[in-house]
């Protein structure tokens, strides 16, 4: 075989999680980072608002509060040991990023600046607390750049524009991955002792989404096909504020800086739903509030959107009503210039895509598909676990959005994902290197590429009756409408049928491009296959969970049901059939109680 590469550790994905893992793994073992995009194109770069850590640079804050907020945010589905682990590591993780040169915004004292974010509170007073460390409204961009730069500094080996298609298992252990080099169309086998998946989420299965084209659930689908389980796939987060129709995200930071939601009648409606923290309630709560307003006819012009208002005069007016103050106790005020300085990209998006200037006009927004809470089950060291007893799969690791630790449970708090990337990316990298230094290479199977090749061949053989683009659009629509913010038995059953039908039709798709060089048609079709796979699993898991919790909210079962459903879903694909099982939630300090904001 011509294209075989041997590395101790192979990292799949070069977003925040992959780069952090690559950086740490490469210090202890020979490491390669493989990515289907140039690393700096990864979706981490789109993250806007910030990364949370209880630095307390403005006011008192502690990791315990951060832990509790996260547990509460997760609607008690998050594993509390893992959450505690993450929030305790948070401070060092953020400081480490600073030491790597990340240009955080600064306080007047020269320390890292922080802003309030949904669900982050002072546990004593219940008031929002400034916990999100930020670099303007492009924190993720800065993290991505900084980590990539540090990888270059440390001579990490990159394979840019290689798409991983298959995961190799030998003797029940990880043995490597197979990837296609986009520029040549050649298959490459990466022989490895340890493999870390950090491929990001799958938000592209929804019509209105803040997610990148690359978010097609590759990692999850590849492992699913190889018989590994996925966890909590029914939990998907809808962010309350996406640009109307386009889904482009308007960060929660806008509300952190004092922006408020306004319905079609010109009323501020969040106090009705979350009397204490109002517009800064947790995302699932705000998304549902917006939907309720729209459904009860209070959308703007009877359409399915509302307004987000960050005009300085409105901010000052509502801040005064809320009694919000500056750190020194004076009433909170803001000017147009300050808004522009703190949220330059958001202002830019609105001007470009909507022709709306947020400093003088309100922004039309609607909830948008945003974050994958579920994913590849791991423990807090990033080791992939494969059953309810947390049995470790030797040599396989996962981190970032594609993984489910689970620290986000049923609903992720804003800014906790970036934290998740750096904390668990780092530990996955460390563990993988440690493992690789003890383990031996498994012998590669004779035809390692066979699995990958046959997947591609199937896509060449279809009758060509069906069009992939149309299938993709139909899937997105049905998933957004029926497996979106509000779900019901009937809607989801219809959706499942539809998705299965689409899967069937997908076998009739034929890729017309027969070339090898940048055959993006082939790759897109393969990705559509992954999306359909994931969409089906999500729908099945969601149908199965008969309660409402966090991001999963059912009209037919509107209450949380801790007696029957305080457990993680595990799902396998066995001989084409979906198998669902459960795993207990780790509860240490915080017993479930009703969640009010």
């Amino acid at each position: 075989m011509a294209n075989v590469h041997q590395f101790d550790v192979v990292v799949v994905g070069a977003g925040g999680a992959g780069l952090m893992a690559g950086l740490y793994a490469s210090r202890g073992a020979k490491t390669a980072v493989i990515s289907k995009l140039y690393p700096t194109r990864s979706h981490t770069g789109a993250a806007q608002g910030g990364i949370s850590a209880a630095l307390g640079n403005y006011e008192e804050d502690k990791p315990e509060w951060h832990t509790y907020d996260t547990v509460k945010g997760s609607d008690y589905l998050g594993d509390q040991d893992a959450i505690e682990f993450m929030t305790n590591e948070a401070i060092d993780a953020v400081l480490e990023l600073e030491h790597m040169g990340l240009p955080f915004d600064r306080t007047p004292e020269g320390r890292i600046s922080q802003r309030p974010f949904g669900g982050h509170t002072n546990n004593v007073t219940g008031k929002p607390v400034r916990r999100a460390c930020h670099a303007a409204d492009r924190t993720g961009h800065m993290i991505l750049q900084t980590l990539y730069q540090q990888c270059l500094k440390n001579n990490v080996t990159f394979f840019d524009e290689y798409q991983v298609l298959d995961f190799l298992i030998v003797n029940g252990k990880a043995a490597g991955v197979v990837a296609v080099q986009l520029a040549t169309g050649e298959l490459h086998t990466f022989h490895a002792k340890a493999v870390i998946f950090a491929t990001g989420g799958h938000g592209r299965i929804f019509e209105v989404t803040s997610n990148a084209y690359a978010y097609t659930g590759d990692g999850a689908a590849v492992l699913l096909r190889r018989g590994l389980p996925l966890e909590d796939m029914e939990f998907f987060q809808f962010h309350p504020t996406g640009i109307y129709k386009l889904g482009i995200l308007i960060t929660e930071g806008v509300r952190g800086e004092g922006g408020v939601l306004i319905n079609g009648k010109g009323e501020r409606f969040m106090p009705k739903y979350a009397p204490t923290v109002k517009d800064l309630a947790s995302r699932d709560v705000v998304s549902r509030a917006i939907y309720t307003e729209i459904r009860e006819g209070r959308g703007v012009n009877g359409r399915n959107y509302v307004y987000l208002d960050v005009r300085p005069e409105s901010v000052i007016k509502y801040a005064a009503q809320d009694g919000r103050t500056n750190p020194d106790g004076t009433p909170y005020t803001i000017t147009g210039e300050q808004v522009l300085a703190k949220l330059p990209d958001i202002i830019d998006f609105c001007r470009v895509y909507l022709g709306v200037d947020p400093l003088t006009q309100m922004m039309p927004i609607q909830p948008t598909a945003h974050y994958t809470m579920g994913g590849i089950p791991t423990n807090k060291y990033g080791e992939v676990v494969i059953d309810d007893k947390n049995t470790i799969f030797p040599g396989l690791y996962a981190a970032g959005e594609c993984a489910c630790v689970s620290v986000h449970g049923a609903n992720r708090l804003g800014t906790n994902s970036l934290l998740d990337l750096v904390v668990f990316g780092k530990h996955a990298g460390l563990k993988a290197a440690e493992y690789a230094n003890k383990a031996d290479f498994e012998k590669l199977p004779d035809d390692a590429e066979a699995g990958a090749r046959s997947q591609f061949e199937a896509l060449r053989k279809g009758s060509g009756k069906e069009n992939a683009f149309d299938i993709s659009n139909e899937m997105k629509k049905v998933m957004f409408d029926d497996v979106g913010i509000y779900r019901s038995e009937k809607g989801m059953k219809d959706a499942l049928e539809k998705v299965r039908g689409l899967k069937e039709r997908f076998t009739q798709v034929r890729v017309t491009d027969t070339g090898k060089i940048f055959n993006t048609e082939m790759l897109n079709a393969w990705e559509l296959g992954n999306m359909l796979e994931v969409a089906e699993i999500i729908t099945e898991c969601a149908l199965n969970r008969k309660e409402s919790r966090g991001g999963h909210s059912r009209e037919d079962y509107p209450e949380r049901d801790d007696k029957n459903w305080l457990k993680h879903t595990l799902v396998w694909k066995k001989d084409g059939k979906t198998v669902i099982d459960y795993k207990p939630v780790v509860i240490t300090k915080y017993q479930p109680k009703a969640r009010v904001y």
Binding site: H43, G45, V352, A468
Partner: protein, 235 residues
């Protein structure tokens, strides 16, 4: 509205020479050029190839020439360019297929300017962050915005003349570190950017600044670098 989309096409495995292909589409004026390309790929010709990811101008995948000027396809709306649209690959980089160009020389130049934070001094005794005033932070804010889309570098006549020229993007990166009060390798970087194929090749053409989708004042940043080599002032 009815638009005519003319696309540069080149498939190395079939074509000897590149050509243009024209598509008539019915689209909304608020659609992105990227949406149009997706539509062509989905319904007219699946072989059309281009890079894209974020679809809202933050990842830097889809810089290309639209009506003769470098832009991001996902940040340009139909109403910004009218109903006659021509899409071509970036200039000065080798075309691999259709709108996809070989980005390696671009990233090679980026890597030349030590594009990473360097500070080998001990950390503050309390183990916390290195201090930096908001003013010091603001000094290099502009150049931290770069998404490495290459729109600037491939609009620069000096880069067209030779890809040896570091190009505006690499210089922007150098600026980001040289003017960061915490960084300690300003001198090394200034030596690199003042080499023959560095600052001296910039003739204040401003194509870069006009092309930058992140609205970075690139020419100004380069100007500051030039003055820094002469005066030694880096704060």
């Amino acid at each position: 509205m009815q638009v005519t989309l003319k696309i540069f096409r080149y498939n190395p495995e079939v074509d000897k020479k590149w050509h243009y292909e024209t598509y008539d589409l019915d689209v909304d004026e608020k659609e992105r050029i990227l949406d149009l390309l997706e539509l062509v790929k989905g319904h007219h010709d699946g072989t059309l190839s281009f890079r894209r990811s974020c679809a809202h101008g933050v990842c830097g995948s889809d810089a290309m020439r639209i009506n003769g000027r470098n832009m991001l396809a996902c940040k340009t709306l139909v109403r910004d360019v009218g109903d006659k649209i021509t899409v071509e690959p970036l200039l000065g980089l080798k075309v691999i297929k259709d709108l996809i160009v070989d980005m390696e020389p671009f990233f090679d130049n980026y890597k030349k300017v030590l594009p990473y934070f360097i500070n080998e001094s001990p950390l503050p005794a309390d183990g916390k962050e290195r201090l930096q005033s908001p003013e010091q932070r603001a000094r290099f804010d502009e150049t931290t915005k770069c998404i490495l889309c290459a729109a600037c570098t491939t609009s620069c006549p000096s880069f067209w003349a030779s890809d040896d020229y570091l190009g505006p993007a690499a210089l922007v990166t150098a600026h980001r570190f040289i003017f960061d009060s915490r960084d300690e390798a300003a001198s090394e970087r200034l030596h690199i950017v003042s080499e023959t194929s560095g600052l001296a090749r910039c003739h204040t053409v401003f194509n870069c600044t006009m092309a930058c989708p992140r609205e970075i004042q690139i020419t100004k940043a380069i100007g500051e670098l030039k003055m820094a080599t002469l005066t030694g002032k880096v704060d």
